[in-house]
């Protein structure tokens, strides 16, 4: 393999980045561009596909192949590209409205099929590009332009949704934590199959501070549960909090947990059954307190792309599809000839 010798700047385009000053998307863009050289994939073999929304402008700023498509459909478009071109590294960039409202159907079906896609879901819990309506991840009672007396609908937890669809890789990270963001991107890129990465992203115009509890120095350690495979799920400023298993089998948060408390749960990202990861995802409150961050689940399953290619190879190995075969196909079983 030839040395690609790519630098982050190689992934920048000549297009002016047009997000609002202070938007969390800038940090994510910088992290992705910074991480891309690590992929070891030539720029021409990388494709970014997005839907509609602030986050979906992302492909214009990546010097790879890219498509800014229509609202909610990026996973479907990427599925067609990835299954027909398994040689490519295909990334989807989407937001909470794009992926979970208008495109919810495509998201869950991409996840259940395990198409080889990396889906980056920027969750700012608001509609930004349409100027501030509540989104499917907004907390109940959200006062917005379209909900002057507060929103009524129960929000989706994107990680729970993905795990409900039995996604083979689900991670969560934060726009402002470059190191953690990069580590989760790396794990997602290494995963063979659909990877969903939820990125908590601040919209400083319409939903500023949505994730401050996880960012401010005085609160973040108390509310963030860092997940490392094989490590006990301990957190808190002094490590005294932990995820514990209750006698009925449910997961819960406990304070002042002794160092040798046998109830403390050790994280298992490779558990075949998604129930454990799902239970972890349910620990969070609506305002993001007790947010597990990192990789919830990472299991190896055959990818849809590879299985489809295998079927084609198997059929062609049995009888190649050449012109003679096409002639025979057209003739069918009962042709007749007129002289």
């Amino acid at each position: 393999m030839t040395e690609l010798n790519l630098k982050p700047k190689d992934f920048k385009t000549d297009q002016e980045v047009r997000w609002c000053p202070g938007c969390g998307d800038y940090a994510i863009l910088a992290a992705v561009q910074g991480f891309m050289p690590e992929l070891g994939v030539a720029r021409e073999n990388i494709v970014f596909i997005s839907g509609i929304g602030c986050s979906s402008r992302f492909p214009y700023y990546m010097n790879t192949y890219g498509m800014h498509s229509i609202h909610g459909r990026a996973p479907a478009i990427a599925t067609g590209l990835s299954t027909s071109r398994p040689d490519l590294s295909v990334w989807v960039v989407t937001g909470d409205g794009d992926a979970l409202s208008i495109g919810g159907n495509h998201l869950i079906h991409a996840l259940r099929r395990n198409v080889n896609l990396k889906i980056l879901l920027f969750n700012n819990r608001i509609y930004g590009l349409t100027k501030g309506q509540y989104s499917p991840t907004s907390e109940i009672g959200k006062i917005t332009k379209s909900t002057p007396m507060g929103s009524l609908d129960n929000p989706f937890n994107p990680v729970s949704v993905a795990l409900g669809a039995e996604a083979t890789f689900v991670g969560r990270t934060l726009d402002s934590d470059r190191k953690h963001l990069t580590s989760v991107l790396r794990a997602a890129a290494d995963h063979n199959g659909t990877a969903l990465v939820e990125i908590y992203q601040n919209c400083n115009i319409f939903n500023d501070g949505a994730f401050d509890l996880l960012k401010e120095a005085d609160t973040r350690d108390d509310w963030t549960i860092r997940m490392e495979h094989g490590q006990p799920l301990r957190f808190g400023t002094d490590g005294s909090k932990a995820v514990v298993r209750e006698p009925n089998g449910a997961l819960a948060i406990a304070d002042d947990v002794a160092a040798d408390d046998p109830r403390v749960v050790v994280h298992d990202a490779h558990a075949e059954d998604p129930s454990f990861a799902f239970a972890l995802s349910r620990l969070s409150s609506l305002d993001s307190r007790y947010s597990p961050m990192g990789v919830f689940r990472s299991v190896e399953h055959p990818t849809y792309d590879a299985m489809m290619t295998a079927q084609l190879d198997q059929a062609a190995a049995k009888a190649p599809g050449d012109d003679a075969a096409l002639g025979a196909l057209l003739a069918g079983a009962d042709p007749w000839t007129i002289d």
Binding site: T13, Q15, A42, R43, E44, N45, I46, V47, I49, P59, Y60, M62, N63, T64, Y65, G66, M67, H68, S69, I70, R73, A76, I77, A78, T79, G80, L81, S82, T83, S84, R85, D87, L88, N105, H106, H109, M308, Q311, L312, Q314, A315, A316, K318, A319, P320, G321, D323, A325, L326, G327, L329, L330, A331, G332, D334, P335, W336, T337, I338, D339
Partner: protein, 616 residues
């Protein structure tokens, strides 16, 4: 006993029974034998949307009509000469189409008081004289089948299910059809159930022998093979021909075929068929919905595949936004609309050509899409190749319009030579086309106005596409007013320019003095052609022109329209082509319409045309 054999030139047979009685299978087999025998033929399957509608009801009647002849024919026939009715509902639903003097073969087994009441008959029509004027053969085919299978191990119910094969055997005797193919087919179809296979064979032979030995059937008929151009033929339905046309387009373009589709009547058979041909590199993706079907196809097109999505009217409505995206991205995509009765769910299993204006205009913004229409079942093959040619050459989505009548109907089809099919080779962009090694994804070909197709994996040509308006040449986001005006007009000019690649239109005007032109598109080709023959046979002149390309219209269409005093446009909608023709050419076309879910009858069209000529 040697029976009288009478020569006929043509006959139309309709067999009707409960959906689930195997009427379509019976019709298919009779068609296959007829095709092999060398008659020209056309078929018309007609069935309810329900898979197993309640037994014995009018709603559950399924029928199959076959027209075959010793000369070339254009339609499945207006009315049957022979009607086979397997129960009271089938008789009631179809007897109105049987002309006086026609032959009626009725299975009397289910003509019980209860069954008669169920379809609204107070008395038994076989006995009350209401079938006077027909040649009626009333026989208990179910009981005859049961008797023939008396020695078998099958339950009475299972044995009775072979009655369709009894009917097929009887018809095969009546019309001197070869039988080997059907017997082999039955044995293969039920290879895993040898007792069922044998029951069907026995029932078939019993039907044949019944005709041969019973005095009730005094005459059998012979229809000599039709004179056909030298070549090799097969019988083919429209959906099969369309699927084969797509595979052929893939071979001839050298691009892998990708189908993204969601099941919908009457288009699903294309998905089924293509899914069988993975050896040709065909990828079929059964998507979660119509939008994902076209979305995945568009993604595959971006990656360099020959991309196709198939659907019918309701699905096309859902795909509208993605078709607009394809217009904006300028990527090749074939959108097959196998039309059915609308609006909304409409008539899923019935035919209509009412999606023309949806194909033409059913998107936001100025979003021109070329439209190619198939005119007969076999023609779906050529139409698919033509749609692929336009999509690949001009980097555009293309509508391929078929309909339920073409999709399920069949006709003999002369096999093309694979090597003689059009060359659809595509040149992907491989080198930068701008100054300083820059790649300009919207720098157009001067002749076709097509933009370069640069597929991922090509170094140096990395670029971003999107549905937001793009700057000319660079494809970067642009909100510039003049640029938008330019891009809208350029996309339209590209589609309009396709007309320059079309061959001259051929008007069928054998007398060369016609003053009335019948203009059509799509599946009305057969009925219009048959109607024109009737008109000409009566001594009058009439010209026929049928459009393969509905958008853009061929460049010589306008001039042709001016040559005739009257232009008549028959359509299975409320005048959609007529609207387009009037708007474009200011021709006062006479719109003749029908939306009954059924094809036009040649006789009715001919009568209408005679009227137009008479008032000339």
């Amino acid at each position: 006993m040697s029976k009288n054999v009478q020569q006929l030139h043509r006959v139309v047979i309709r067999i009707a029974g409960d959906s689930g009685d195997g009427m379509q299978l019976t019709g298919d087999r009779f068609t296959q034998e007829t095709a092999l025998f060398g008659n020209d033929l056309a078929t018309f399957p007609n069935f309810p949307a329900e898979i197993r509608a309640p037994q014995g009801t009018l709603a559950g009647v399924s029928s199959f009509q076959l027209h075959f002849a010793d000369y070339d024919i254009l339609t499945p026939g207006d009315r049957p000469d022979v009607l086979v009715a397997m129960n009271p509902a089938a008789l009631k639903a179809n007897v109105g189409d049987l002309p006086k003097g026609g032959t009626l073969i009725v299975d009397t087994h289910d003509f019980t008081d209860r069954a008669l009441t169920r379809v609204g008959w107070a008395s038994n029509p076989i006995e009350d004289g209401s079938l006077e004027g027909f040649t009626v053969h009333a026989l208990d085919m179910t009981q005859l089948t049961l008797d023939a299978l008396a020695g078998s191990e099958l339950s009475r119910k299972d044995a009775g299910r072979s009655k369709n094969m009894f009917a097929l055997g009887l018809l095969s005797w009546m019309y001197s059809r070869p039988t080997e193919g059907t017997l082999a087919f039955v044995r293969q179809k039920f290879a895993n159930k040898p007792d069922i296979a044998e029951a069907n064979v026995t029932a078939f032979k019993a039907g044949w022998n019944f005709g041969e030995t019973t005095e009730a059937f005094a005459v059998s008929y012979e229809i000599k093979p039709a004179v056909q151009a030298p070549g090799t033929y097969r019988n083919i339905s429209g959906n099969l021909a369309l699927a084969y046309g797509l595979i052929a387009a893939s071979r001839r373009s050298g691009l892998p075929l990708f189908l993204g589709a969601y099941p919908i009547t009457p288009a699903s058979d294309i998905l089924h068929e293509l899914s069988k041909h993975k050896r040709f590199g065909v990828r079929t993706f059964q998507a979660e919905d119509e939008i994902a079907g076209i979305g995945a196809a568009l993604g595959a097109s971006f990656g360099g595949a020959l991309a196709v999505t198939t659907s019918s009217g309701p699905g096309i409505a859902l795909k509208g936004e993605a078709i607009g995206l394809a217009v904006s991205l300028e990527l090749p995509l074939v959108v097959c609309d196998i039309q059915r009765g609308g609006p909304s769910t409409g008539l899923p299993t019935k035919t209509e050509q009412s999606d023309l204006l949806q194909a033409m205009y059913g998107r936001n913004g100025e979003a021109p899409v070329p439209i190619v229409a198939a005119q007969s079942p076999g023609d779906c093959f050529d139409a698919a190749l033509e749609a692929a040619r336009i999509a690949l050459t001009y980097r555009t989505p293309v509508f391929l319009l078929s309909d339920g009548y073409l999709a399920n109907g069949s006709e003999p089809w002369q096999l093309p030579s694979v090597a003689d099919l059009p060359d659809l080779t595509v040149a992907f962009a491989t080198e930068p086309n701008g100054a300083d090694g820059q790649f300009l994804p919207y720098l157009r070909d001067v002749e076709t106005l097509a933009r370069p197709w640069a597929v991922p994996g090509t170094p140096g040509l990395e670029h971003r596409l999107g549905g937001i308006e793009k700057a000319d040449k660079t494809g970067n986001i642009s909100y510039d007013p003049d640029n938008h005006d330019f891009m809208v007009r350029t996309r339209q000019a590209k589609v309009d320019g396709i007309a320059r690649s079309l061959p001259p239109l051929v008007v069928d005007d054998p007398d060369r003095d016609a003053r009335v032109l019948v203009l059509g598109w799509g599946s009305t080709y057969g009925p219009i052609g048959a109607a024109c023959r009737r008109v000409r046979a009566s001594g009058a002149s009439i010209a026929q022109l049928h459009l393969r390309h509905v958008n853009p219209f061929p460049n010589d269409l306008g001039e042709i329209l001016t040559r005739y005093e009257k232009v008549v446009i028959p359509e299975m909608n409320l005048g959609q082509l007529a609207t387009l023709i009037r708007a474009r050419y200011l021709v006062d076309a006479i719109s003749v319409t029908q939306v009954r879910g059924l094809p036009f009858k040649a006789e009715e069209l001919a009568e209408m045309l005679q009227g137009v000529i008479a008032h000339d």
